[in-house]
């Protein structure tokens, strides 16, 4: 049918294969769809570049599939938020003077300029042992930008004796 919008395969990366197949068979879809319209059985709506028509018989299955995927997305969203919170907490610990001093490599007799062991927090934050700025966490547009403060020098190792100004 000349002039009719060409059906396009929707982007259903998050749908199960069975639901994606169901959709591709029964839905004429545009990329600028309105999800709220598709959620009603037998409803139709006009999008910016075409129309959506859903057969009533398939609507129940479609809704079930959408509900399932919505729940999956919600769960995934919570997981992402939880990860973001853990990343922020790890960043705050990483740049807190009190904590970084306690974790100094010199406490074990090492050279102060030698990188210490890389913790899980560093890895999660996308940081490196060399002190590079951590990568921005996912979806962190609303979160404040955490800039690494200059790391305080670790405490000196215990000495056997001293030389210097107070030793005339």
């Amino acid at each position: 049918m000349a002039g009719a919008p060409r059906p396009r395969r929707p982007r259903w990366g998050l749908l199960a294969p069975s639901a994606a197949a169901l959709f591709s068979a029964s839905v004429a879809w545009t990329t600028s769809h309105d999800p709220s319209a598709a959620s009603s059985p037998g409803a139709s709506s006009t999008g910016a570049s075409g129309s959506v028509s859903v057969p009533a018989a398939s609507a129940a299955q479609l809704r079930q599939a959408l509900d399932s995927q919505t729940e999956a997305l919600r769960s995934l969203s919570w997981t992402v938020r939880g990860l973001e919170a853990r990343v922020r907490a790890a960043q705050e610990r990483r740049f807190s003077p009190a904590v970084s001093g306690a974790a100094s490599p010199a406490a074990s007799g090492g050279t102060s300029r030698t990188p210490g062991p890389v913790s899980a927090a560093h890895v999660a934050a996308g940081s490196s042992a060399s002190g590079a700025a951590p990568a921005a966490p996912l979806g962190a547009t609303a979160a404040p930008v955490v800039r690494p403060a200059p790391s305080p020098a670790p405490p000196p190792p215990p000495v056997h004796t001293t030389t210097g100004a107070s030793r005339p």
């Binding site: 102060s112 056997h160 001293t162 210097g164 005339p168």
Partner: protein
């Protein structure tokens, strides 16, 4: 497992001396006692604060021959060697300048500000003839002491000398030999002039903190040393006020007054404590630029502190740094 060293601490040469050796009881006691006697003999032979000491009797008539104890004889010889080695930057003839500036007696350093009301303006060294030191300054009259090893006799030349700094370094050297007879792990520390035998009580190196000349509690750096000597010269030590002017004991032989080179502290690490003492003083006198050149020429391991607190190092000392308060430049021998 670390062995606790036997320790003997006492006061000598107007400074605190600490001796340590890891050895069995009797051997340790004997070594510590012998080492302490070294300090006693060296001080009695080389002090300038006792008018009847062998050194001061020679200073009273420096153009005449004087038989002196071996410690004094060797100290003058070593001072002459250091004078030649440093191109005149180390010059024991600064005694007159020290006296003129008010340091003519044992002063109670460390007990607050020392005020000397009757100090004179420094008369300086003998009139400088034409000539230049390696660092560009006017050279004082050359020093030509004479030695008669057959009878331990010296003729100092026209000027009296001060053996304080090098005498302490030599006492550390000789005391270390006594301790080394009892055990390879030992420490001789005389006011920061140190000789460190072996790798320390734990075996992983002696850790020596370099004090901040501005008096901050945190050290500037911590060295890890095996079988080495370290010495620091500082304008912040042995200071006094004379006529309202702050003075210190490191005299620039080119000017005849307290050195003002832009450096406030120099630490040198080497094999021998007397050499480390001499070079730390010479570098402090000559200033940062010439110090860098001298370190390169003589392969010196040195760390210096500028008047504004910046820290500079020569390349050979960097591998010895176990810890540093500020990042130390790993570049081509420049200030860090």
């Amino acid at each position: 497992m670390a062995r606790e060293p036997a320790t003997l601490a006492f006061r000598a040469m107007n400074t605190n001396v600490t001796l340590q050796v890891v050895a069995d009881g009797d051997a340790a006691t004997e070594a510590l006692t012998s080492a302490a006697w070294v300090f006693d003999r060296t001080e009695r032979a080389c002090t300038r604060f006792d008018p009847v000491s062998p050194l001061m009797q020679a200073n009273a008539a420096p153009d005449e021959w004087h038989e002196v104890p071996p410690e004094c004889f060797m100290a003058v010889q070593e001072a002459f060697r250091a004078h030649l080695l440093t191109g005149g930057l180390f010059d024991p003839r600064v005694l007159r300048a020290l006296v003129d500036l008010g340091y003519d007696r044992t002063l109670p350093f460390g007990l607050g500000d020392v005020e000397i009301p009757d100090a004179r303006e420094p008369s300086g060294l003998a009139a400088a003839p034409p000539g230049r030191t390696p660092t560009g300054g006017a050279a004082p009259r050359s020093w030509q002491p004479r030695f008669d090893g057959a009878r331990n006799a010296v003729r100092l030349g026209p000027d009296p000398v001060d053996l304080g700094g090098i005498g302490k370094g030599l006492a550390v050297r000789w005391a270390a030999r006594q301790l080394a007879r009892a055990g390879s792990v030992y420490l001789v520390d005389a006011g920061g002039d140190c000789r460190l035998g072996g790798g320390g009580p734990e075996g992983d190196g002696w850790r020596v903190g370099i004090e901040d000349p501005t008096g901050q509690p945190l050290p500037i750096a911590v060295l890890g040393l095996h079988d080495a000597s370290v010495a620091t010269s500082s304008t912040a030590a042995r200071t006094w006020r004379a006529g309202g002017v702050r003075r210190h004991h490191v005299i620039d032989p080119r000017s005849g007054t307290s050195a003002d080179s832009g450096l406030v502290s120099v630490t040198v690490v080497g094999d021998d404590p007397a050499d480390a003492e001499v070079w730390s003083k010479a570098l402090l006198i000559t200033g940062p630029e010439a110090a860098h050149d001298l370190c390169t020429r003589h392969g010196l391991a040195a760390l210096w502190v500028h008047g504004d607190g910046r820290v500079g190092t020569s390349a050979p000392i960097r591998p010895l740094l176990r810890w540093s308060r500020d990042p130390v430049d790993g570049g081509d021998g420049d200030d860090g």
